[in-house]
């Protein structure tokens, strides 16, 4: 079975294509494949190619799923089937002929999204305009070819083949795959997001994979009966009964592997609009970094012979929505590695036919991306003197358009792929992965298995006084601080893979969230702390340490102070492993379970026995993972946990206002006698705690990952689009999803509740077990609240998430997972 954790350092080292050759196509291979000239590229007449199809050439050992290289470009190609009306897409609003010829279909200049003094975009294309405004949209006008064919079938075949007026047996992207892969098998380099592979993704030797816009079915199940079935299919694999028997049976095994790999990447719920769903899948395939370099998707119908006013704007609106979705989902680390381009088989006639347009010739197309050199390219074909059935001339051969992409973004080789030399239009300002300052955005990776070293709590950053060398003063909206954790608060200078820190937002001027992420990596689309005016809001964070020894904290809105307290770190050597237990209550001052009954008094120290209780063994446990909740305090204050016998430091775990019910996860070293000392600043607070795990010599190791959202009930990510509530317990599968392998034992999740309808509490527990009498989040209507959860994975690698009263939306960001 394929290791779904494809982002490990080991895999990177093993699979990464060295920079020296990652941009080079194998020229000799090309000469063998296509350099024989046969411009028409006819497999049926070429016995050698036909023989390839007759001969089992399946190398079972050689297929690879690997992350892309640091400077590899990724291309998303969008096909607009049916022939898009270019004149109503990029509108020449100063050309009187346009208004004469396009008649009732013409769009007034005032309605267009003006790009310059002469042309404007169709009003639906707001996302294109956004990219134009930041200099990342190239508009290539007048693309076409000599002797244009007006048949959809023929012209699309020419475009996809990359060869006009020739019989198409292979496509330009397929031949690019040929050049990259040669005889190597790789299911994850090129894919059509669709049900079958279109011509442009079929090479002479290689072909792209078809990834349907929906979760894979056969092979994706994780129940024991599913696995027995798949195992039976796998065990029929043998090459003993002839070569094709071996190839077929191996392909069935590949199919199972592919389904298992893709199922976690593709959500069950996708947008209704087909092209929006396809581009969402494309973004997720890129984010998963399975190695995809080329993705294609198509939609239509742009064949607007009639009723164009009603249909064409809808098509462009769909494109716009799809692009918005794509770029919204695309992880920042890939933003400057991805280029999007459009194409269609032809444009349409400049004259309207009383409600529509007929098959035309040249048309403009778009190239979008962070490293695209925005601007106008090519030339708007003249409309002067065109009669009803005249077609527009072209100014850019579509092969020149392709060559510009291949040579500017995909590592070169256009003359081999296209069978000739075509002008590079110079559409890119920089190569893939390169930032304007010449640096490269790193691609985040999953940390190695690591073990826990608990520390005596210590504050390592405080923007109020500059502790830890951070600037004094509140973070501005969008501001960040870099917190050096290597060498701070007992964390070693080198070797710490991850830190356990409590991050507190103080004196926030408005509702905000803070995102914590590894240093020297891109800001993820996740959040850790939801704060606002009023009391300080803390949350525990388990975060990978960046290659620069830092973690960073981002402030979304308003101004706020940030404090960081460290409680321990993870390293590859000499630490403790975690055993995650079924959540159960350790103590509760309201009932006297595990502690003396009654509220905590100001500055009173109370020892709590941990070892031997709530699933923690009597000996051998070094630290405990628990959710500490304060309830019914009569005044503002904070609660602190210290290993018994240690002097409390200037730290805090839970901050509260009067009458709050506030939880926070705590990972605390066990002190004398396996105990923890609880103390409180603030009068009359009740406290309770639920244990989720402990650390000791045996158990699982942590692997941190780039923070990644795995659940958002607001948009149907990881679930249906519905809040959880009294009648709905959500099962969240995380094992085997995204970067989290199926054999993960526990997961580190930051769980956030929002759109809270009623005062209630949220409980997270292993799937398949009875709901425990514990809590993780305490809900207050109108508040957005987050808490870290470290929970054992139950049946099917899943967690159950329940909400007692009313409803709320739940968001979960994975920060890491535990493996044995």
């Amino acid at each position: 079975m394929l290791d779904t954790d494809i982002s490990t350092r080991g895999a990177l080292a093993h699979l990464h294509i060295g920079e020296t050759d990652s941009h080079a196509l194998d020229r000799r291979r090309f000469l063998q494949l296509i350099g024989m000239g046969a411009g028409a590229g006819l497999f049926s007449g070429s016995s050698s190619t036909l023989l390839d199809m007759l001969t089992p050439g399946y190398d079972a050992s050689a297929w690879a799923a690997g992350p892309i290289g640091q400077n590899d470009g990724v291309l998303l190609v969008i096909a607009m089937y049916g022939g898009n009306d270019g004149l109503n897409t990029v509108i020449p609003f100063n050309d009187g002929n346009y208004y004469t010829q396009h008649g009732g279909l013409a769009i007034p200049g005032s309605q267009t999204l003006a790009l310059d003094g002469n042309v404007g975009l169709n009003p639906a294309l707001t996302e294109m305009k956004r990219f134009w405004d930041i200099g990342q949209l190239a508009v290539v006008q007048g693309i076409g070819y000599e002797n244009p064919d007006l048949s959809h079938f023929n012209s699309m075949a020419y475009w996809m083949a990359g060869r006009p007026n020739a019989i198409a047996s292979s496509g330009w992207l397929g031949r690019w795959l040929d050049g990259k892969l040669g005889a190597t098998k790789d299911l994850y380099m090129g894919a059509e997001v669709g049900y079958s592979v279109p011509l442009h993704m079929i090479g002479e030797q290689q072909r792209g994979t078809a990834v349907p816009p929906g979760r894979p079915n056969f092979g994706a199940g994780t129940d024991p009966d599913d696995l027995r079935l798949y195992q039976a299919v796998r065990s029929m694999q043998t090459s003993a009964n002839g070569p094709w028997f071996g190839s077929v049976s191996q392909a069935f095994v590949d199919q199972l592997d592919m389904a298992a790999t893709l199922a976690p990447v593709i959500p069950e719920q996708l947008p209704d609009t087909d092209i929006v769903a396809r581009l969402e899948v494309a973004a997720r395939l890129i984010n998963a970094n399975l190695g995809f370099r080329v993705l294609t998707a198509g939609y239509g119908d742009f064949d607007t012979h009639s009723d164009q006013l009603a249909t064409h704007p809808v098509q462009l609106q769909e494109l716009n929505t799809a692009l918005q979705r794509f770029f919204e989902l695309l992880e920042p680390a890939y933003a400057n590695r991805v280029t999007v381009m459009t194409f269609s088989e032809f444009g349409r006639t400049s004259w309207d036919n009383d409600g529509g347009t007929d098959h035309g010739t040249s048309a403009p197309h778009f190239v979008i991306g962070a490293n695209v050199k925005g601007g106008m390219y090519g030339l708007q074909p003249s409309l002067v003197g065109l009669d009803q059935w005249d077609r527009m001339p072209y100014h850019v051969d579509f092969r020149s358009y392709y060559a510009s992409i291949l040579d500017g973004w995909m590592g070169g080789g256009s003359s081999d792929v296209l069978g000739g030399n075509f002008e590079n239009l110079g559409l890119f300002s920089r190569g893939p992965g390169v930032n304007p300052d010449g640096s490269s955005t790193p691609i985040a990776v999953t940390g190695p298995p690591s073990t826990f070293v608990p520390l005596t709590p210590e504050r390592i950053a405080d923007t109020r006084d500059g502790t830890g060398g951070v600037s004094v003063g509140k973070l501005a909206p969008g501001g960040r601080i870099r917190v050096r954790v290597a060498g701070a608060g007992g964390v070693p200078e080198t070797g710490a893979c991850a830190v356990v820190v409590n991050v507190t937002v103080v004196e926030a001027t408005q509702a905000m969230f803070a995102t914590v992420y590894p240093g020297a990596s891109a800001l993820p689309r996740t959040s850790n702390i939801n704060g606002g005016p009023g009391r300080p809001v803390p949350n525990l964070v388990v975060m990978g340490v960046g290659t620069d020894g830092h973690i960073e904290v981002y402030n979304s809105h308003g101004n706020s102070h940030v404090l960081v307290d460290v409680f321990g770190y993870f390293c590859e050597t000499a630490g403790d492993r975690m055993v995650s237990v079924t959540p159960s209550r350790l103590f509760d001052t309201r009932t006297g379970v595990g502690i003396r009954p009654g509220t905590l008094r100001h500055l009173e120290q109370v020892d709590v026995q941990v070892a031997g209780l709530a699933g923690v063994p009597a000996s051998g446990a070094t630290a405990v993972v628990m959710n500490l909740t304060v309830t019914q305090p009569s005044a503002p204050g904070f609660l602190r946990m210290t290993p018994t016998g240690q002097t409390p430091a200037q730290t805090s775990n839970v901050n509260f206002s009067a009458n709050d019910t506030v939880p926070n996860l705590v990972i605390c070293r066990l002190g004398n006698g396996g105990r923890i000392t609880l103390d409180s600043a603030g009068e009359s607070a009740h406290a309770l705690a639920d244990v989720f795990g402990y650390f000791g010599a045996e158990g699982s190791r942590l692997r941190t990952m780039p923070p990644e959202r795995v659940l958002d009930t607001r948009i149907g990510l990881g679930s249906s689009t519905a809040p959880i509530g009294p009648d709905r317990t959500l099962t969240l599968t995380v094992g085997g999803r995204a970067r989290i392998p199926a054999d993960a034992t526990a997961v580190v999740l930051n769980v956030t509740a929002t759109n809270v309808a009623a005062a209630s509490f949220v409980t997270v527990w292993p799937n398949g077990e009875a709901a425990p009498a514990t809590s993780n989040l305490n809900l207050v209507p109108g508040q957005t609240i987050a808490n870290l959860v470290i929970c054992r994975l139950g049946a099917g690698g899943a967690l159950s998430i329940g909400n007692q009263i009313g409803t709320c939306d739940v968001i979960a960001d994975a920060l890491g997972y535990f493996v044995d």
Binding site: S196, L229, Q237, W244
Partner: protein
């Protein structure tokens, strides 16, 4: 007397599946006798009657009808198999042709005449509206020639690339001007005003030399399959100066070999097939007979040399489950497998073997097998709990009670009912599954059998 394994191989390749009754009927005689029996196709294989009003549904009706002919309704399924061979060689695509009735006309020509004479077959389809539209011959005018059909006639249909020159394409294009169609009524139209009646030279022979101009196009076929000569400036050096009819006979012989045998064509068989074609002036039945009776066709390499195409696989699944096409043919999965009837990917038809073997295609085959598995279970939860398969039925009670503690016997019972013999390794995998599975999971043995590799090789 023939070896049973050879008869089974012959039937798998010619009739899709080695049905036990056919094996029993043929195993007593020689291979030659078996081949003659297989070739004894009915003169009238019938024709679909459309009941749907909607064009696309009619296309499905045509496909289902064709599948049922391949599976159950023909006494000699080679007739349908051969029609699919021509569909992949002289192809047209429903999407471009546009009308189901036109596809029916072309497919029926392959079905009725596919074992007749190549010369007549190609002439017949070349002026049918399906082909006129598919290769743009309906837009081929003296004033604006369209070479598409004329080129493919030589390049992809009859000769192969390199055996003619551009001048020959231009000459043939002129000969084919004037045939067009009515887009509204789908009727064939002869437009004499479009015809270029000027004298031309094709493959060294004079054509367009007066006479009935509607027959000028057919003359090109007569030259190619007659006294044409491969030009001395043709790019295929080895064939320069040869009679084009020899080149055509070899070209089609190789296509037939690839389709039925799967391996690289042996020169000896191709030569024998060519000679037979020339002797019988391209009569197809004796020509194919040479292939099917050749000793080369029965080597181990050939027996292991072909992957079941998606159509072959669909037929085999229908046979094994006893379902009819209208019960369960998920045609929408077939494009993803690489082959949907009526929808060849381009004018060069379908490739073979590796073309169909990849993970994406197998995902569609697995989905297809699942749908067959579920369909056979339709009656499973009814009181009778019946599963109907090719050779009979098994009840839920038998699966869940009778065989509760006999997992191995259950496997063999299901294989018997599906009329499948598995290799020892595949059978072992099913036995292991049956032993380890909970008893209520064991109905999945039907699905697993459909996913066995031997189900996907021909």
């Amino acid at each position: 007397m023939a070896v049973q394994a050879d008869i089974e191989h012959l039937l798998r390749r010619t009739e899709f599946v080695a049905r036990p009754a056919r094996v029993a009927a043929l195993v007593g005689g020689t291979i030659a006798a078996a081949v003659d029996d297989i070739l004894a196709v009915p003169a009238n294989p019938g024709s679909v009657t459309f009941t749907a009003g909607e064009n696309w549904e009619r296309g499905m009706e045509l496909s289902y009808y064709w599948f049922d002919r391949m599976v159950f309704d023909s006494t000699r399924p080679l007739q349908e198999k051969m029609s699919f061979f021509w569909h992949g060689l002289l192809c047209s695509e429903f999407g471009k042709v546009g009308t189901a009735e036109l596809m029916r006309e072309q497919i029926d020509t392959f079905r009725f005449d596919g074992l007749g004479n190549l010369r007549l077959l190609v002439k017949k389809i070349s002026t049918q509206v399906a082909m006129l539209r598919y290769l743009d011959n309906n837009q081929n005018r003296r004033s604006s020639p369209n070479q598409n059909f004329a080129r493919e006639l030589m390049e992809l249909f009859l000769l192969g690339v390199g055996n003619y020159t551009e001048a020959d394409v231009e000459a043939a294009t002129a000969a084919w001007t004037g045939h067009t169609d009515d887009w509204e009524t789908d009727a064939y139209i002869w437009n004499v005003g479009w015809h270029d009646a000027n004298l031309k030279t094709l493959l060294g022979r004079t054509i367009n030399n007066g006479g009935d101009p509607t027959l000028h196009g057919y003359e090109t076929i007569d030259v190619i399959l007659g006294n044409g000569i491969v030009p001395v400036d043709a790019t295929n050096v080895a064939n320069r100066g040869r009679d084009t009819r020899l080149v055509a006979a070899e070209f089609i012989s190789r296509k037939m070999w690839t389709f039925f045998a799967g391996t690289s064509p042996p020169a000896s068989v191709i030569a024998a097939m060519r000679d037979n074609a020339i002797t019988n002036d391209f009569a197809i039945k004796p020509w194919l007979r040479v292939l099917l009776t050749s000793t080369e066709f029965y080597t181990a390499e050939v027996k292991q040399g072909l992957v079941r195409s998606p159509v072959d696989m669909m037929v085999a699944m229908l046979v094994a489950t006893g379902l009819r096409a209208t019960d369960n043919v998920p045609i929408w999965l077939m494009e993803g497998m690489g082959q949907a009837p009526l929808f060849p990917p381009n004018v060069s038809g379908w490739k073979h073997n590796a073309y169909f073997v990849n993970a994406s295609a197998m995902a569609q085959r697995a989905s297809c097998a699942q749908s067959f598995g579920w369909r056979t279970m339709d009656g499973y939860w009814d009181p009778g709990g019946l599963i109907q398969l090719a050779a009979g039925t098994i009840t839920r009670n038998e699966i869940e009670v009778t065989y509760r503690n006999q997992p191995d016997q259950l496997v063999d019972r299901i294989l018997t009912l599906m009329q499948i013999t598995l290799s020892p390794s595949s059978r072992e995998a099913l036995l292991t599954f049956s032993r380890n599975a909970q008893w209520w999971e064991r109905n999945q043995l039907i699905l697993l059998t459909l996913l066995a590799p031997e189900f996907h090789v021909a």
